[in-house]
């Protein structure tokens, strides 16, 4: 099990993930992964600075499986990372589709 950090962007509420060099990214595939909960919590302390700086809201740590591309362990985070399962035309899954085209 690995760990990653997610939050909602203040401006539009869209789900974002904490990536390398203190950047927030749109896709879970680009998120920084942490090998342990402790490591993730340490990164969360840094990520929280962006809450104080009003970039994101409510950052938190969650579990991912990363045999290949990272997949959120829990269905809630999987849905956050993709979009509503009942509207494949919205959320990040739609952006990915558009990119592929």
């Amino acid at each position: 099990m690995r760990f990653a950090i997610s939050a909602n962007r203040l401006l539009d509420g869209i789900v974002v993930f904490f990536g390398s060099s203190h950047h927030w990214v749109d896709q879970l595939s680009a998120a920084s992964l942490y090998a342990s909960k402790n490591e993730a919590e340490a990164a969360l302390a840094v990520a929280r600075l962006d809450q104080t700086r009003n970039v994101v809201v409510e950052p938190y740590v969650f579990e991912v499986r990363a045999e290949g591309a990272p997949i959120a362990h829990h269905i809630r985070e999987a849905i956050r990372a993709a979009g509503p399962t009942v509207r494949k035309d919205h959320g990040k899954q739609a952006d990915l589709l558009a990119d592929k085209r």
Binding site: N8, D12, R53, H74, R76, T85, H90
Partner: protein, 556 residues
Amino acid sequence: MYRYDEFDAGFVSDRVAAFRDQVARRLSGEMTEDQFKPHRLMNGLYLQLHAYMLRVAVPYGTLSARQMRKLAIIARRYDKGYGHFTTRQNIQYNWPALADTPAILEELASVEMHAIQTSGNCIRNVTADHFAGAAADELDDPRPYAEILRQWSSLHPEFSFLPRKFKIAVNGATRDRAAIQTHDIGYQIVRNSAGEIGFAVYVGGGQGRTPMIAKKIRDFLKIEDLLAYTQAIVRIYNLEGRRDNKYKARIKILVHEKGLDWMRQAVEAEFEAASRDYIALPDSEIARIKAYFAPPELQARASSQKFAARRESDPRFAGFVSTNVAAHKIDGYGIVTISLKPIGGIPGDATAEQMEAVADLAELYSQAEIRVSHEQNLVLPHVALDDLPVIYDELLASGLATANAGLVSDIIACPGMDYCSLATARSIPVAQRISERFGDGPRARDIGALKIKISGCINACGHHHVGHIGILGLERKGVETYQITLGGTGDETCSMGTLTGPGFSSEEVVDAIERIVDAYMALRNEPGEDFLTAFRRLGMQPFKEALYDTSKGADI
């Protein structure tokens, strides 16, 4: 129809201006999220799973065509082209940007709409029968009373910080279509032995994690005492309601813990003691508000040739009429339910184009009036039967002619884990699969009246406790699990559903529902004993047997 009076218009535009300022300060970093959150919630703006969510009140479910057009414009301009109609007679937008919300509120204010009282521990938007002012079985239109309560409670200083949110519903017909017994206060319009109109008063109902049926606290309340009595109830609640535990803070817990007799004594004493003069409702004030809801001047019409001929020749039209058209007060008219439950679709969702199509129909054929029902459907309340064939054709063209109102596929479902940050499981996909299994054809018609209601967590926004069949989505060991309850109803015979037993996985749950329905079909008394009646006669046992004896893997 009601329009703001000057007080309201000024008040709402001040609120929008204040919110614009708050959003600017939040975006600039002057305000922290903790400081900002109460303000955004007060304006109906939540942060959900994927984005912000804006909840807009449709007071007592009444909308004009003009307002519906505005909702469509907002969906298109600021959202992703659709909105979600909810069980609280609200519409929710799922994707607005924070920076856009003041502009949205301004657009709403231009058609006398707002998001005030859609959240927070205040008296929430008052709900009413969606057939109000039109239904054949109505004693008196509940909306003027709902409106009087709304005006009085809007930002009432004494009642802006209650122990918890407070929901009032008013019903004026013999059938309770407003589910008043599941509200904090329910007002049922009745006629007493002297022939006067007044209210029977129910208190302490609610759903959520502790479902309770409201108890009748008074048989008859004079109309002039509506506000005085409401004030007495809310005061007692404000004083005595628990603030130590959010889950025990609703008035239902107070009534439950202290008992109905205690509650009645306390309320009556407060009602007698308080000076009633200044909030007694004079006839002139009632008349003034009633004028806003004056029924359209409809002349009774002779039986319609066009309507009869189409009904004769087109079985699908006839099917639509039998489920989606209800009796109107005036001969020759009907009330049309526009189902937002297409087979396999998302309950309650409507596209901007569909909203506009409904607005057009309302303008042409229904006195420019639309209703939003707590069953997540839309209603054209005043339709001449003569016009029904053309309306039906238009609805067909817009994908809105699903003939399933009140049937097994007319399912209520909350957003669940597809959108909601509090969810423990998804609800919409379960609704979609059940809807596909039963459809709206002969099988659904044979099954008859059956209300399935699905919530994605214990908060019960999908009303599962009062579903004839209720489904509650939970999480067990990281997996979605669905509990089933049977025998609930939110109508005048209100009852809470009983748990069948262990829950079912997402793969199993639709088959489980089918086994329940099949058992009912096998056991019902011909002809046409509906599901709820049959359940009440038969009890849980035969359904338990159908569910668990034959099922494989129902051992969660």
